[in-house]
Amino acid sequence: MSSIAKKKGFGATLWDYLTTVDHKKIAILYLAAGGLFFVIGGIEAMLIRIQLAQPDNDFVSAGLFNEIITMHGTTMIFLAAMPILFGFMNAVMPLQIGARDVAFPFLNALGFWLFLFGGIFLNLSWFMGGAPDAGWTSYASLSLASPGHGIDFYALGLQISGAGTYIGGINFLVTIINMRAPGMTYMRMPLFTWTTFVASALILFAFPPLTIGLFFLIFDRMFGGNFFDHTMGGNTIIWEHLFWIFGHPEVYILILPAFGIFSEIFALFSRKRLFGYSSMVFATVLIGFLGFMVWAHHMFTVGLGPTANAIFAVATMAIAVPTGMKIFNWLLTIWGGSIKVTTPMLYALGFIPSFVAGGVTGIMQAAAPLDYQLHDSYFIVAHFHYVIVGGVVLAILAAVHLYWPLMFNQMLNETLGKWTFWFFFIGFHCTFFIQHFLGLMGMPRRVFTFGANQGWDTFNLISSAGAALMAIGVIILVINIIITVVKNVPVGNDPWEDGRTLEWAIPQPVPFYNFKQTPLVRGLDTFWIEKQEGNKEGMTYAEPVSDIHMPNNSFIPFVMTIGLFIAAFGALYNGEKDWAIPVLVLGLAITLGSMAVRSIKDDHGFHIHKEDLMNDEGGK
């Protein structure tokens, strides 16, 4: 990243990134944007914890607090965790399967810009009359009653960024199905690729219900619809269903890639093949499937009746089985291995007890009668931060360290990495463990303050202190990144020395066309196999060097996104400002127009000729 910047000058680099369709650069964009949103979401988390550090606090007002928690949840889930994972999928998955790029490079760029501008739109609400304040779940009766434009920003912003995610999901699916290198059978795919595959399938089926739910909300609030207005025959429970039909698979969209990352790490740093590979694949698919059959466990107290509650309770519990398979397979992977505790491995090791603790509280919540007590209490907050922070965020932090050399040809500092880990890890348990008890002691979630006489003071203070430790950890990470980027010491390929999969075999920095020759995959962990057989190059090839076809860069994805961004303002102010409808139409016209340009104009890409390839020794 820095090396190009030096050669090209700022303007050219900027243009390059605005128009790029290269999965490696899009990965960097996802990582940067997602990282930024993570810090924003984290700062919001800090505000929450400051407010709740002591009883009857008035650090933020009641209304503002609701805006903060809503934006914290929404930002973290939609704009931080998922995009960062998308970043790693983009950076790693095509290399793992031996592909030149993803299936639809143009759409890949479009997906990114949609996500980014959806996120920007959502966050603009802070400056344009107030953020959404009905919780990230935005239950309909409250979200219809909420004054101002906050909820409109939520619905429109998520609609735009959701479209980006949906496009990304299809893209990954097609890439994995169609573009695997010769010999890369389904049962030889690295687990990160597998989990990307299943997570993308979940995106494919989970986002349409969200889209519909958000459309209903948009129509109800801005265009006179009546889906959720019970005086007009509407029904708010429809929103709850649609949201959770999306929402539950969504949490598996987050955790499955995290599982994939840890599977890579455990094998790599134990110098050992992943234990029970085929059952890992099976478990991944099963979790994905079951993920669609359990959404009503978020709705046990809604009053769906005992039969629905019982069915969904039992179905939910079933998920423990495939997840348990995974946990034990990881344990057996390190068992008998040669464990090297690097920073990524440290995260992986921290993940196991943390996630199991979070998972088993999930099973407790699945016991419906018990959930009547736990629902909407701090116990739930504890549960999902244990699985999300203890699972997804630890995976993200691990992957930042693990894949940094792959993405940037530099190594993050290991010592600082470990400091980050310990601060974050201790802070995390400190913050959230105690919240289980707060919940059991009767503290509801989403309260902007609490009275002093209820026995919650000390635990809340401890929780807030833990959050501060987490913040220190994150700040150390930021420092680490800055130092590394400034130093810019190249490390070459296979920096962890025990790389097993194709992405570590490719020369560094990764050429923009990825593989000069398509590799031939000869088994699971193909790089490891080649190394064990003494192959210095690390790859066997499936074809001689020949011309490579590459797609052209394009500015159209950006323009299309801007069109929707503009249109969203039109929709938002519909019925309030005269210019609303014209702006809406203008925005849509820009988007449709650029789509038309895209389909009318011939864009066949270009070729890199064989001779040039021969001379190119990697590098950019």
Partner: protein, 360 residues
């Protein structure tokens, strides 16, 4: 022998858990100190599931720690290439079957209690004379207050639920504006109050609440409902059945007369400014714009969460928005000829309201 040992282990684990957990939290608020059968069932489910989960965690952690100690690279040697094991069918079966068994152990009571706690068939039961055998309460949740109507007894109260002990109390739950959720942590789990339908469930209370620190159990709104969601508390007073019946009788018959000059002045102000929304008689049915104030003097809190004294009452009346943002009680300016209440007016109102009582 092995079996006995295992049983003993499980038992002591449960015992330790019980002691540890009930040490947490306040007796009038915590789910860990259940005050009735429903809460106790759920607490037992908590104990059972915690024990299972503790077991799972212990097993995982043991394997984990041993692996971590035994197989560090420092220990096994820098250049050792471990055997590349593919997997093991036996192990796979073990860790599929054992969790399934554990889950079955949890699933059975789960399903049983799910049906048990949803059983409201006895709600409409009547004795020979056609009187309802059980107390039913219609709960209406509004932006940020609670109304409790006793349809069979012909009385209404607000903010403080009064229920008899030692019997099932049935609830019909509904929201008036946006969704809320009705939760008395000590008595049992919550149930949402939806806008478009009536939810039903029941709770039980063992003992009269008089012995508690505050004399009441705490109730909460458990569904985000707007800025003052956190302040939407209510209190629950449990009475022995005789006391309850006595309370009902006074509620039905009690005609309040303001005592003293100050209170009478207050009554006058109240009747010009407040009566449009607030009823002061407990006899009747639901439908007030604002909470029924018949039992105001007996309450434990002002506005559900402020301490019960004239000071907070006056503060509240003169600026409800400040204390409970987003609530629907008019600011004094809109009901008092465009001005705040004067100190004298406030004193009078406070005296009048504090005198509204069925217990004194």
């Amino acid at each position: 022998m092995m079996k006995g040992l295992k049983k003993w282990r499980l038992f002591s684990l449960l015992a330790a858990l019980t002691i540890f957990l009930s040490g947490c939290g306040e007796e009038y608020l915590s789910t860990l100190t259940p005050a009735g059968q429903v809460g106790r069932d759920q607490f037992n489910l908590l104990l059972l599931s915690s024990a299972i989960m503790a077991l799972v965690i212990i097993v995982v952690v043991i394997i984990y720690v041993v692996a971590l100690v035994k197989f560090r690279r420092k220990k096994v040697g820098e250049d050792v290439i471990p055997k590349q094991v593919e997997g093991s069918h036996t192990l796979e079966i073990v860790w599929t079957v054992i969790p399934i068994l554990l889950l079955i152990v949890l699933a059975i009571p789960t399903v049983y209690y799910t049906y048990k706690h949803a059983d409201v068939a006895a709600m409409d039961q009547v004795d020979e004379e056609g009187n309802k055998t059980n107390v039913t309460v219609n709960v209406k949740a509004s932006l940020y207050w609670w109304e409790f109507e006793y349809p069979d007894l012909g009385i209404v109260t607000a903010q403080e639920l009064v229920v008899p002990t030692d019997q099932k109390v049935y609830f019909n739950l509904k929201a008036a504006d946006v969704k809320h959720s009705f939760w008395i942590p000590t008595a049992g789990g919550k149930m949402d109050t939806n806008v478009e339908n009536v939810n039903q469930f029941y709770l039980e209370f063992d003992d009269a609440s008089a012995s508690l620190e505050q004399g009441v159990f705490y109730g909460k709104c458990a569904e985000l409902c707007g800025p003052s969601h956190a302040l939407m508390d209510f209190k629950v007073k449990t009475l022995e059945p005789e006391d309850f019946n006595a309370w009902v009788e006074t509620m039905k018959t009690n005609e309040h007369v303001a005592e003293g000059e100050l209170a009478s002045q207050g009554e006058e102000i109240f009747n010009t400014s407040c009566i449009a929304c607030h009823a002061t008689s407990g006899a009747g049915t639901t439908g007030g714009m604002g909470p029924n104030l018949a039992t105001f003097g007996d309450r434990n809190r002002v506005a559900g969460f402020m301490s019960h004294d004239e000071e907070s009452l006056k503060k509240w009346i003169n600026d409800p928005q400040l204390y409970k943002p987003g609530n629907l009680m008019p600011q004094p300016e809109t009901i008092n000829d465009g001005e705040k209440f004067s100190e004298d007016q406030l004193d009078a109102l406070a005296a009048y309201l504090m005198g509204l009582s069925v217990e004194k």
